[in-house]
Symmetry: none
Subunit: 213 residues, 4 copies
Amino acid sequence: MSNEQGEGARRRPSDSGPDDDHGGSTRERILTAAGELFAEHGFTATPTSRIAERAEVPKGLIHYYFRRKQDLLAALVERLPDEELESDRLVVRGDVAGSLRRLVGELDARLESSMLLSHLLWREADTHDAVRQAMQQRFGVVVEQIRRVIELAMPPGLAGCDVETAAMLLARVINHRHSVARHRTEDDELDREIGFIANALELGAGSPVVNPA
Amino acid sequence: MSNEQGEGARRRPSDSGPDDDHGGSTRERILTAAGELFAEHGFTATPTSRIAERAEVPKGLIHYYFRRKQDLLAALVERLPDEELESDRLVVRGDVAGSLRRLVGELDARLESSMLLSHLLWREADTHDAVRQAMQQRFGVVVEQIRRVIELAMPPGLAGCDVETAAMLLARVINHRHSVARHRTEDDELDREIGFIANALELGAGSPVVNPA
Amino acid sequence: MSNEQGEGARRRPSDSGPDDDHGGSTRERILTAAGELFAEHGFTATPTSRIAERAEVPKGLIHYYFRRKQDLLAALVERLPDEELESDRLVVRGDVAGSLRRLVGELDARLESSMLLSHLLWREADTHDAVRQAMQQRFGVVVEQIRRVIELAMPPGLAGCDVETAAMLLARVINHRHSVARHRTEDDELDREIGFIANALELGAGSPVVNPA
Amino acid sequence: MSNEQGEGARRRPSDSGPDDDHGGSTRERILTAAGELFAEHGFTATPTSRIAERAEVPKGLIHYYFRRKQDLLAALVERLPDEELESDRLVVRGDVAGSLRRLVGELDARLESSMLLSHLLWREADTHDAVRQAMQQRFGVVVEQIRRVIELAMPPGLAGCDVETAAMLLARVINHRHSVARHRTEDDELDREIGFIANALELGAGSPVVNPA
DNA sequence: AATGAATGAGACTTCATTCAT
DNA sequence: AATGAATGAAGTCTCATTCAT
């Protein structure tokens, strides 16, 4: 268990050339099919043969590009969109809730295409080390971005409250959506939760932690 | 691939007799082993033969008690501790944070034994209908309990804020711990998050939701 | 490469009971089929599916008894007839050639059933450690037996010659037959070679090793 | 499964041109790599892709030069050094042992480069007809050469003994080294065995075969 | 002349499940 | 009630070989 290899993922043959294949380069089609199926049924429960079917390539080609099934997962992780984004332009000083909403919107837009994928990765995180590491790193990045937006958006006088915790809280909510909530994505709830946190911050929540049990 | 039910789970042969087996009735030992292994490696990735090994029973016995592998999962769901608990005695009026901490503590204590199991179930939730339904129901129960504790603990004057959202937020945090956070369970973080939410509530957060996007 | 495991070979189900299978216990039939096919076409070139065909068992049963193909080889080695035999009764003092011929005859008789097998094992000796070790040990045993027979059969006065070398020489001839000569087993040649060696010993060959360049 | 021949081995594209490849013509590098790998792991167990790797040529090139994998084996057989050598200059009349030692030394020197290869060929002899035939022919040539050296080296008076058998015996020893003994090549043993045979011949061994069984 | 993507047959192996005892 | 031998479908992966470029 948990053997990453670093190698295993062969380079794609025609990287930037025009694709006369139906729908992306062959390698890409395989990855897309794999991502979808993994997300729908899980990694172990998805036979490589079904990936081949959906990608409309012969079975052997899967293992030509990705020697082991596991390498498909690794490649999917690498292909994740970079979560980094210049968040500064989203910030409106004094409007924490609005700024956070815009941030979450941006993050979601980026992940939109890979929502299912993201969900899959959370599922496989504790079976595959590479996946887990990637996920944890991404979590850290998100927390950091939230924290930054909050700090920029907060009115100057209210610097005392627990920004760190609020950021973590929101990051967890976001992750929860991507990881577990998959089916019932109720934007309404999310919206209210963002509002709650922003409001709490503006009220100075968390600053004086009173008698911690 | 959906959910069989009704039949499938055979009644244990010697139900009430004294156990001369080493460590619980045979059927129970099988379930425990299955729960552990499913949690460690996932449902599909766990062969029934390995369950038999860990439970120290012959392989045939697994399918004697549980005709299909899937029935093991169903039985594990049924065996989950009832989340219902008389929360009233945990409440100290005026101390929202403390009350919530005690509630979370109780919930954790109940789940302690089945922490891994709970995690497993979240993983398998979108592959197995029966599991998903159970999980969603449990989520609802937890939200409700949190809401109740908050309402009981809140000082009378502050009834205006968004208790519903706060409850959902905390429930999500709890679930996140059980479903995803598996490895790094940092109680410190949880504690601060509870404090943050309680404090926010006391400050009236969420009451006037300002310009919702 | 070269991973023996010690385990891997499941115990046969009905060891000594009467066989109503057609031709030995199931496990034994598999081993016999494997031995034959390995000998004919080599280990790697023999698919387990063909073993199943010849043994007239379903493919899965092969791996029920022998988890890995390699375990078949290991089991075949273990099944080799013990080369040890009470050679003393074969010896006629003063008749070295005759004594050796009887010894070789005995060894051949023992190996007769496993001639092909023996050949196979030599072929696979340098790919599979377990096989090589078994083969080397067997070689040592044979050399020792030959040496003993020679010493018992030699007339007392001629003790000076190089018995060790003669024994090795003959052992090598025997092995050569089993390992390489497979197809054209001309007993005539063997006979003359035994005669030559015996005669040489009686003439005192090897005693004074002259200028070993 | 028998032996194809006649076609199959394409002529190398640039036969006589200067080699700017690193280490021999491309075709030759392929053959060398194939020989090494076949000897190490056996014919069937060696993928052509690994041959390409070791030869540092693209995979397609293997099948460009040698349409079928089997043709590699055939080419290796053809490339074997010619065993024929003018043995007369090695002979010192009256010194049988010395003459044989020099002969064996020469043969070994020729085969030195292809010791492993020779071993491989013996292994594959009974799976590939072409290989077996080549091997048997080579065996005959060696026997003949030994016989010739013995006859030339023997003192005139001792013509009565069984030269044929002695030659066969020694040829077998040589072959045994090349085919089986691969790992523990103890020149010491070989030396003593040559001495034994030569000594036996000088003593007239084999001449009067006494009571053949 | 040379390349490496593509192909599909088939190898080994695992496994849930059945069934005779 | 309990067992483990038996079964065969299906999984992952390898590989010789072809072919368009």
